[in-house]
Symmetry: C2
Subunit: 211 residues, 2 copies
C-alpha cells in the first residue's frame, strides 16, 4: 500500500520503481486520488526482498509512506457475480452464499457479488463489464425476461472463458448460457460448485444443460 | 482497455503515455497478466481528445490494441460488503439486494457484495481489506459472535470514513459499529438506505444506534 501525493504521473513513477526491481505487478487499485493525497494498492510478484522495494519507493519525493499488507486475492478470492431483478438475485444469492460458506470453511476463498438492475442496455453493459472486473469466475443471470443485446453480451463474455448460468426464463439468454437452472437457489449453489476446487462438479461433464 | 504484451514494466510504460497527455488515472485493473498477453483497464480524467491518447498508446511496441469502453464506476457504482456466517450473510443480502433494486430503478448504482467467512483472524483480515477495495461505502458484519481482533479492525476501517453496521450479536463488535440492527433483512435495507442518494436516511441524524 503506497501513500503518495495525488496528481498525474504518480502511478507512472511508482510503477517505474517496481519495474526497476523486476517486480511483476499482478494487481493494482487506486483507492483515493483526491488532492492532496492518493492511496495505491499493488500486488507484486517480486524476485528479491520486499523491504528493499519499500525503501526505494519511500525515496520517491511524491511518496509519503509504504506498508506491506495481505493480498486481496488471498482474502476475497474467486468472485461470482449475480445480476438481474432484485427478487430473483436475492434468491440466487441465498443459494450461492450458503454454498460458498461450506467451501470457504474447507479452505476455499469465494465471494458472491450482486447487482440488481433493470433494462436491456444497462444489463448488457453490466454483462460486458464483468470481463473488466478482477477475479470473476462465473456470472448468474437472474430474471424473468432477458434477450436481444444481453444475449449478444453473454456470448461475448463466454469467449473470455467466463462460465454463464441463466435462470430458466423468457427471452434468448438461456440459449446463450452454459447452463440453465429453474430454481434460483440451485442456480446459486451450482455456480459456486462449478468454481470451487473443493467441489466435485464439472459443467463440461454434465449430460444435460437445463435443470 | 489496453491489450499488451505481458511482463514487467508494461504498466509503467502505458501509464507514462497517459501522464504525457496529462491524464489523471482514477481507476486501474490488471485483468490478465499471463504471458504472452496482458489486459489492462484504465479510467482516465483527460483534458484532451481520447482518440489522440488511444493513438499514442497504440504506438507503443508492447501494445497490440486499445479500446474505449464504459466505466465500471458508472455500471457497478457504490458497493456494500456483507461478511460473516453464511446463514446470516444470506438474509442481510436479501434485504440489501431488494432495497438496492428499488434505488437502482430510480437511477442509483449500488451493488451488494458478500463473503461468507469463519474465524477471528480471517474476518479481521477481511474487514481491514475492505479499505483496499474500490468504491466501498458500507460494511455489514453478519454473525452471532464477533470480537477481539475483529473489533480492532472495525475501529480502524471506520477511521477511513466507512460506515459499519453490525447485527445485534455476542462479542464486542456491536460496540464498535456505527449502527446495530437485530433483524438481518433490516440491516441490509438500512445499509443501502444509508449510502443511496435517492433515500432520505442519515445515520448521524438517528436518535438511537441500536434497532
Amino acid at each position: 500500500m503506497v501513500f503518495a501525493e495525488a496528481g498525474t504521473g504518480v502511478l507512472h513513477r511508482v510503477s517505474g520503481v517496481i519495474a526497476q526491481h523486476q517486480g511483476d505487478i499482478t494487481s493494482v487499485e487506486i483507492l483515493d486520488n483526491k488532492p492532496p493525497a492518493s492511496r495505491l494498492y499493488f500486488e507484486v510478484d517480486l524476485p528479491g526482498n520486499p523491504a528493499r522495494l519499500v525503501e526505494d519507493l519511500e525515496r520517491l519525493s511524491i511518496v509519503m509512506q509504504v506498508e506491506l499488507v495481505k493480498t486481496l486475492d488471498r482474502i476475497y478470492g474467486k468472485r461470482i457475480i449475480i445480476m438481474g431483478g432484485g427478487a430473483q438475485v436475492g434468491q440466487v444469492a441465498i443459494g450461492a452464499i450458503s454454498e460458498a460458506d461450506r467451501h470457504n470453511i474447507r479452505g476455499e476463498h469465494i465471494s458472491v457479488d450482486t447487482i440488481p438492475l433493470v433494462g436491456e442496455q444497462p444489463l448488457a453493459d453490466a454483462v460486458r463489464a464483468v470481463a473488466r472486473l478482477p477475479r470473476v469466475k462465473a456470472l448468474v443471470l437472474a430474471g424473468s425476461l432477458m434477450g436481444g443485446e444481453i444475449e449478444t453480451a453473454v456470448r461475448e463474455v463466454r469467449q473470455t472463458g467466463l462460465l454463464v448460468i441463466s435462470l430458466n426464463m423468457a427471452g434468448s439468454v438461456p440459449e446463450a448460457a452454459d447452463l440453465v437452472v429453474t430454481d434460483p437457489v440451485q442456480a446459486g449453489v451450482m455456480a459456486v460448485m462449478a468454481v470451487a476446487d473443493t467441489a466435485k462438479f464439472t459443467v463440461e461433464r454434465l449430460k444435460r444443460k437445463v435443470f
